[in-house]
Symmetry: C2
Subunit: 152 residues, 2 copies
């Protein structure tokens, strides 16, 4: 089972990490640049979590690149447990943040037209969609690594 | 690894299922009886998902009771895969519904005092807290069963 695709050190894992970094950066930029996100707790939560996902994914992407080029496996039991727990926590927090933001946007669209001009609301929606994609990829990474750890 | 506590057929699993059924019923009743939940998509979503978690948890609790009393193991590979996927999907949806409701309640508390009299808002908050507890137990069941399947 050492060849589990998507677990640390494989090219599939590198693709997942790059996808996470791209989508979380897009969510962070769309939500934080030129938009008044700090009025809503859910949007602040989304920005915070995306700000945590970016360095996490970039660090693990570098691990994957190192593994791919050097041929050294970094699958030490302690490290794998940290990766699985980190991925699981971040994917839970990403889903919670994206869902909370989606709930808030729904309320803003239906009840508070004044608080949500189309230009802002479009960006909130796009940012939330990106956060959902980042969540999906983080959850996939977590599952692949958990599968590897469980099958040892 | 057949003795994984928390996987189908163990007493720990029965406790988890009963907890899920109790918390999701509480969330459903607090949100749907005497409160205008249907004005907000997030609250309708919460009620729908809690309405799915209740029969799912009760069915699996009956499986656990049958296993405990008859001594027959119900850990067939096909059944276990269905249980793991069902638990994973329901836990993701529960977390999404609870987070979306929490986001909506935050907006209602801060911006829309007219829409959220204390009596209603207290029940929305309690219902969301119960939904988070139901999510936590569903996620635990899913993880224990996934661990069992992965270690076969």
């Amino acid at each position: 089972m050492d060849e589990t695709q998507g677990s640390v050190g494989t090219t599939a894992s590198l693709s997942l990490r790059l996808g996470q970094a791209i989508f979380s950066s897009a969510a962070l930029l769309l939500m934080s640049v030129g938009v008044e996100f700090y009025s809503y707790t859910a949007f602040c939560f989304l920005v915070t979590i995306m700000g945590l996902v970016i360095p996490w994914s970039c660090t693990l992407a570098m691990f994957d690149i190192y593994s791919a080029f050097s041929g050294c496996s970094l699958r030490l039991p302690g490290l794998m447990v940290i990766v699985v727990i980190g991925d699981a926590v971040l994917s839970i927090l990403s889903l919670a943040a994206a869902s909370a933001s989606a709930g808030v946007i729904d309320v803003l669209l239906h009840f508070d037209r004044n608080y949500c001009p189309p230009k802002f609301c479009g960006r909130y929606q796009l940012s939330t969609a990106m956060a959902f994609l980042a969540w999906f990829l983080t959850a996939a990474s977590s599952l692949f690594n958990l599968w590897l750890v469980a099958s040892w």
